[in-house]
């Protein structure tokens, strides 16, 4: 709208022509009609609505898990992962004078002086006899190794995101005697070589394929052995206590964990210990931890 203070004929709004009387100021309504609207108002409303709904109910996250296999090594020709679990034993001479692992009577005392060869890959020091192992008694077959995967080493804040179970039915065997009157037999030992074929339970780690929900590329692995004979868990360290200066007062972040690195592109994982890859030609070694 414009205010006119002239006594002339004006032409406005294209072809409109008006003659104005002299005298008072006159006002004229100029028909500048403005019909304005947001461009794509409907779309904007819909988008806004979508955003609000997303805020309220969330978006469709991807919680699908995928299997991560042990990363190849040895020029990509091998993929197996090796675990050796060592139980604390008391080495005592047998009838021939050879030192053989036995169940320690007072482990918390013995561990203060025992050298590292007192930790052996055998179920015998844990209390299972060769006969029980060979005949797969329930207390043996119901036992298992439990690998827990945490997001950090800090026991206060860490979260256990997943667990892998290694059954005792897997693993290598050694020759053993169940009776002096019977031929020797092959019994299981807690030494595993897991791969795509053969023993494969625990070989694959199943974890989220998409990092959007939980962006974790590095896990920290601990190990326990569930002894079904006694119904207790036996905790494991990555170093025999004989090699730890302070056998009961050490930093758990150093001795209870291996680092597991996930490769989301290749869908593989690697196990590391102090910047050295483990599980390949050098097995991942776990040692029974003896409480004071």
């Amino acid at each position: 709208m414009g205010r006119l203070n002239q006594q002339k004929t004006i032409v406005n709004n294209n072809s409109y022509k008006f003659t104005l009387p002299k005298g008072d100021d006159k006002y004229i309504n100029i028909p500048i009609e403005i019909k304005w609207d947001f461009l794509g108002q409907g779309d904007a409303v819909e988008e806004y609505q979508q955003n609000v709904v997303e805020d309220i109910v969330g978006f469709p996250g991807d919680f699908e898990v995928l299997r991560f296999a042990h990363a190849p090594y040895s020029s990509d020709t091998k993929t197996d992962i090796k675990y050796n679990f060592h139980f604390f034993s008391d080495l005592q001479p047998d009838s021939n004078g050879n030192l053989v692992p036995t169940v320690p009577v007072n482990p918390s005392t013995l561990v203060t002086t025992a050298p590292s060869n007192y930790w052996v890959t055998s179920y015998v020091p844990e209390g299972f006899t060769e006969t029980e192992i060979y005949y797969y008694v329930k207390s043996f077959t119901k036992s298992f190794f439990k690998l827990d995967f945490y997001d950090s080493k800090d026991t206060i804040t860490q979260t256990n995101y997943f667990t892998v179970i290694l059954p005792v039915q897997q693993g290598f065997t050694v020759s053993a005697s169940t009776s002096p009157y019977k031929p020797s037999v092959q019994i299981k030992i807690p030494s595993f070589k897991l791969d795509y074929v053969g023993d494969k339970e625990g070989f694959f780690l199943y974890w989220l394929r998409n990092k959007k929900f939980l962006n974790i590329s590095k896990f920290y692995m601990t190990a326990k052995f569930f002894d079904a004979r006694l119904g207790v868990f036996v905790k494991m360290t990555n170093t025999p206590q004989s090699n730890i200066t302070s056998k009961f007062m050490f930093d758990p972040e150093i001795y209870f964990y291996y680092e597991v690195r996930l490769n989301y592109n290749e869908k593989t994982y690697e196990v590391w210990d102090n910047s050295v890859r483990r599980g390949t030609s050098v097995p991942i070694k776990w040692y029974e931890y003896i409480n004071p």
């Binding site: 709208m1 409907g42 995928l66 091998k78 074929v197």
Partner: protein, 634 residues
């Protein structure tokens, strides 16, 4: 305001005077509140789920394979790693023969074990075959092993699995052998020319002609007819038309009069036209030709079918496939295995050998399949994915021959009408499968055979040279392979599979001697179907049409009929909708992805399973088993 014209008063007519005019022209401000339904919505989880589902274009296909395999061919070998690992036959006689004979002079006989065909090889610990035997020489020689087993490759040594989709339509030369002449194809045609046929105008046979018997014209209900026999299902309906092209070049359109020759099961393979007295020079008994189906002869542009071979494009790589044993599932045929006593083995090692197994497998993929950018062979949004399985044969027991030009003969391909042997004894494959026939090569988009890889082992020689162990090099994402022979009709907007694609592999005769059955140029072998359909979207049962004056709602994949001046298409059903006719899909949707699932039976088919019934002196003279038809009593 555009229509208002204001004229000065004195100009309105001769004596008119000027007058003040006032035109109320308001400054209009149109402001409006958003409608109630625009401002607030109900948060409905079911609706939100469905919105997300309809919007998602990402798929994670999963399937289960039940492998059906009858280990059918025995052979002999003295290639040590294979000889020590056969499922033996005649082992008693061979053991006696071995006594006193020089080393390697006796070829042990048997079946290759099931691991040679299994989806996941489990023979990872066989000394000398998959585990190296270290050399004891000084300095040490190459360890003795056929293939140093890589566990990661256990699921890719024999077979490779991919996801593919129908990418485009191509032409292919096709041959059909009906057994009348084992060496010459009875029909040779191009896929785009349609469906081939033999012409029959009278009741003559080879024997009647030889005996000088005058043939009688073919009649049906007293009406003279001309009969057309097809090696595949013709796909015609009553009152439809056929555009026939004879070997002479004669082309014309006829209405179908009837189907079959009166024998059960022939309706789908034989059609007849009314013979109004066509010149004997046009239709000649025994002549051949091709036809195309026409629904409406007044509108041949839109209603004539097109014929083609589908070309698939592979969209995953070998390592994207995750193949695992399927829980506890076994097929009903069980495992056939036996104990090989050490006395009855060439290396005196006891073991259990397996001839056939029953394990099922689950296949999934690491890679998400986004179909938003993909169009099928009809330029429509993707409605089907295919699980493609290709024989690789890395252990080198198959392939190995060369054609007349010295080129390697690898995997061969053909259609189901090529599977039947051409003799009664079932030991002569159709010449289609000969190594020299380039039309049956397993080829890429440039029609070049997919390459063959080689390796040698420390064991065995042929003519003083190391044995070449050959295998098909793995395909990769972006490669193309040929698929089914199909018919498409624009008017119906529907595709029909006329004949399915099969692959064939044969044994390496340098390695595995099948005696009389291993004609080097055309051996007996195993067939399998490479492509298995996984439906991910359904097209409507009805056909939509749209005018050019109202384009809203017309999808971009619609067909424009110049005759009707309108668009024709089938609607894409939404996910989760089923029209009751099996056209929709409803499979899980979670994680923002679709999870289509299928159960597949994977048959590895030995020669002779498919046959031409005429060779068995049966009543049907066409390829394919005559299926009993339901009559009015049933």
């Amino acid at each position: 305001m555009d229509d208002i014209r204001i004229v000065l008063g004195s100009l309105r007519y001769k004596t008119a005077t000027d007058t003040n005019l006032s035109i109320p022209t308001p400054l209009v401000q149109n402001t409006k509140n958003l409608e109630e339904f625009d401002r607030s919505i109900d948060v409905n989880l079911v609706q939100i789920f469905d919105d997300e589902r309809q919007k998602s274009t990402t798929f994670r296909p999963v399937c289960k394979f039940q492998v059906l395999f009858n280990n059918s061919y025995t052979g002999a070998t003295n290639y040590e790693p294979l000889e020590n690992n056969l499922y033996y036959i005649n082992e008693t006689a061979l053991t006696l023969k071995q006594c006193g004979a020089s080393l390697n002079s006796v070829q042990w006989e048997g079946f290759p074990q099931y691991d040679e065909f299994d989806f996941i090889r489990s023979d990872y610990n066989v000394s000398g075959y998959t585990v190296p035997i270290p050399s004891t020489a000084t300095p040490p020689l190459q360890p003795m092993v056929h293939v140093d087993f890589v566990a990661r490759s256990a699921s890719t040594y024999n077979w490779n699995h991919f996801v593919s989709y129908p990418y485009k339509n191509i032409d292919k030369v096709m041959n059909y052998y009906d057994g009348t002449n084992p060496l010459t194809p009875s029909l040779v045609w191009n896929a785009v020319d349609g469906i081939p046929f033999f012409v029959k105008i009278d009741d003559s046979t080879g024997a009647s002609i030889a005996n000088g018997i005058t043939p009688n014209p073919l009649l049906e209900g007293g009406n003279p007819i001309i009969r057309f026999k097809c090696p595949v299902k013709h796909g015609l309906l009553e009152s439809e038309f056929v555009k026939i092209k004879l070997s002479s070049g004669y082309v014309n359109t006829f209405q179908v009069f009837s189907f079959g020759d009166g024998l059960p099961g022939t309706d789908e393979y034989i059609f007849n036209i009314f013979n109004i007295g066509y010149s004997a020079s046009i239709f000649i008994d025994g002549d051949t030709g091709t036809f195309k189906r026409i629904i409406n002869y007044e509108n041949p542009n839109d209603t004539t079918s097109k014929y083609y071979v589908i070309q698939h494009k592979i969209i995953t790589d070998v390592n994207d496939a995750v193949l695992v044993n399927a829980g506890f599932e076994k097929n009903i045929f069980g495992t056939k295995k036996k104990f090989e006593s050490p006395v009855y083995t060439p290396n005196n090692v006891k073991r259990v050998s397996i001839k056939e197994n029953a394990q099922s497998y689950t296949l999934s993929f690491n890679k998400d399949i986004d179909v938003s950018e993909l169009r099928d062979n009809q330029k429509r949004p993707i409605s089907e994915l295919y699980i493609t399985t290709i024989w690789k044969g890395y252990f080198g027991l198959t392939f190995g021959s060369v054609d007349n030009n010295g080129n390697d003969v690898g995997l061969k391909q053909g259609f189901d009408f090529n599977l039947s042997p051409v003799d009664n004894l079932f030991n002569t494959p159709q010449p289609w499968w000969e190594g020299n026939n380039v039309e049956s090569n397993f080829v890429d988009s440039n029609n070049n055979p997919y390459p063959i890889g080689y390796y040698n082992t420390p064991y065995g020689t042929v003519n003083g040279a190391p044995i070449d162990f050959t295998y098909l090099k793995s395909l990769k994402s972006g490669d193309t392979i040929n698929g089914n022979f199909c018919e498409w009709n624009d008017y119906e907007q529907k595709e029909r599979v006329i004949s399915e694609m099969y692959h064939k592999f044969t044994f390496n005769s340098d390695l595995f001697d099948m005696s009389l059955m291993d004609d080097n140029n055309n051996q007996l072998g195993y067939y399998y179907k490479p492509n298995r359909r996984m439906k991910i979207r359904g097209f409507s049962d009805y056909i939509e049409t749209g005018s050019i004056n109202s384009m809203a709602g017309v999808p971009d994949y619609s067909y424009f009929s110049t005759t009707y001046n309108s668009f024709i298409w089938r609607d894409l059903y939404t996910y989760g909708f089923n029209d009751g006719l099996g056209n929709g899909v409803d499979y899980p949707f979670l994680n923002g992805k679709h999870y289509p699932y299928e159960n597949f039976i994977f048959r590895i088919i030995p020669e002779g399973t498919n046959y031409i019934e005429s060779n068995l002196n049966n009543y049907a003279t066409l390829y394919g088993a005559a299926q009993p038809t339901k009559d009015n009593c049933e």
